[in-house]
Symmetry: C2
Subunit: 416 residues, 2 copies
Amino acid sequence: MKYSKLYSKTIKEIPADEVSKNAQLLIKAGFVYKEMAGAYAYSPLGIKVLEKIKQIVREEMNAIEGMEIIMTALQRKELWEKTNRWDDEKVDVWFKSELKNGTEVGFGWSHEEPISEMMKLYINSYRDLPIYVYQFQTKLRNELRAKSGIMRGREFVMKDMYSYSISSEAHEEFYKKTIEAYLKTFERIGIGEDTFLTFASGGAFTQFSHEFQTVCEAGEDVCYLDREKKIAVNEEVFTDEVLEQLGLKKENLEKVKTAEVGNIFNFGSAKSEELDLYFTDKNGEKTPVILGSYGIGITRAMGVLVEKFHDERGIIWPVNIAPFTVHIVEIKGQNIGEGEAQKLYEELLSKGIEVLWDDREDVRPGEKFADADLIGVPYRVVISPKSLEQGGIEVKKRNESEAKIMKVEEFVELVS
Amino acid sequence: MKYSKLYSKTIKEIPADEVSKNAQLLIKAGFVYKEMAGAYAYSPLGIKVLEKIKQIVREEMNAIEGMEIIMTALQRKELWEKTNRWDDEKVDVWFKSELKNGTEVGFGWSHEEPISEMMKLYINSYRDLPIYVYQFQTKLRNELRAKSGIMRGREFVMKDMYSYSISSEAHEEFYKKTIEAYLKTFERIGIGEDTFLTFASGGAFTQFSHEFQTVCEAGEDVCYLDREKKIAVNEEVFTDEVLEQLGLKKENLEKVKTAEVGNIFNFGSAKSEELDLYFTDKNGEKTPVILGSYGIGITRAMGVLVEKFHDERGIIWPVNIAPFTVHIVEIKGQNIGEGEAQKLYEELLSKGIEVLWDDREDVRPGEKFADADLIGVPYRVVISPKSLEQGGIEVKKRNESEAKIMKVEEFVELVS
């Protein structure tokens, strides 16, 4: 992509009420635009990052036989009344409105209810199970405060998966598979090292739910990490009894602020009983379906990445989810042909490498360098009279300070 | 994909209030699920079709330098008041709700206002123009009645593009390019022959807007077609004066029911003036930006396809947007090895051909054939003792009645 064609140029001014670091950087660098507190639009740069995160999540969910679907934002009152989650006293994040005929409707903040209701159409016998479905849904939540940028929004993208299993044992097996798939996902996104399987409070059916918490100063949770065992305990269940149960020793634990990037939960048969979701088992018995739910905050993960990977000059995207792999800075001069940068751009594109080319005229090199640092593409490549004189292009990684001169072929090999 | 793994099996019962043919067929065949009137969820099959339509639209919008973004559903009252479109008396499809502090918010039924407001951040000089942006947005519209299935929903996916140009001439040039891109898009989707560039009522700036109307009995519009000239006139502007102006003769026109699949519109400088969106031109003069808006109903297009391409047995998807290219019906028998269908399935997949394999046990051939017709994949391939005896597989196109025996290699060549 040519930078001159990109409307969302870097900007200096950010909204006065924007206190969150991730949103400040993303707005400045031109990835997002603040519509209102907790609701952000995504520019072509922002979409590229979001889609990369989504694609990694999609691949990992498909790998455990998840099937992608998409539910609706609009929600029916009667359905949510069945599980006692319509009342604002019970669920305080509903946005509600009404149809022309006065029928109340809600906007989806979660989707266990409608998906499970839908499954009543398709689940009759044990032969119809298991079913694993997921969606990338724009959730709407009427949060009292929304001050964490894209880490906690009133409107945000979540991957939510639901499993419908024949028994607790079958559920447990899939639940464990999902834990592995989640760890792999966070690894691929670039936060694997700092993301911990975390014991948190459970529900009617299980003592614990499991969260995936990423060490992050801007996070809203507090966890106790055992770095060696690679697990954590959310402070909400941090008792001597729990530690003993998990075989953890207080002296090995580290108290840190964290952001929840994923959460998995066993509903057992509770929701199925409320919604009347039963199947006929092998013996002809009517049996409630066992339900699990598995979330990953897609926009939140993007916010966490920015919080974790930035310096005073801007964002430092991990390679796997960077909007581009290479950012070409063109510096014109007397001995540089008109077409040199273009040639490089096209050569990299032809090798399947994603490139942002800062082709702007009348912009000083210093400004181009500052913008490259702010945007945070992993490789900055300068093509200038000086680099050509030295026999190539000047390559610098965003997270290193040393640049070096390389031949184009050498560089292509490096990033392929 | 194996049919046994797909939860959204064909069903016999459809919701009693579902009067629309497209929704009836899509529900029966397992592509959509009705959440409420005008709001449908999409199953793995439904998503596949939607994504194919979106991808064609995306490619054509990218080809005319459109850049993909995504705005928010949540809308600010103050913004829409500037253009006098907040009041329910002016716009009667708003869903509205409020934040915890009592601030009113709306849910996006259109996005000219927020996108243009955002552009004030990025447009200063003539050097920043033109800008072409588009999104695939889930629009929310509080329609009084919603009886056309996925052709007119309370919640639906639209591709909306906006152009920001320096002058009426520059605008006009892009507008014409978009017409070509739209015609190509509808051609690729499979409705090119029956889709007409249509003159419809304009606004403050232009006598006409342009619609893309597809001949369709279930449509809500009435148009007069000149099939030879490949243009149409919406009845809302059907006067002798207009016909003369367009050089059309009444006797050459055919009155038909149509569905609007696209609409393009010139706002001139009107909206920019209301929203204070100006740029500095080459002479240093403050000048309003010229705005165009260009919609394609993605879910509606899917509905139109079903309305146009079905018979008494089910849907007949055009090849380009079919969920799969091949539907394998496996019929077991004495002389058929266990692995024959699997071998065929894997061979086709390895050639990059999308396959649905009806691998169900204990289902009669007749039921499998009926389901294949209902789902509407372009090629049905039967592998059975009889077909193997005759030396291959039995291939039948969904829109033809004759089947023939082919060798696998022959078939692969045909569909590649």
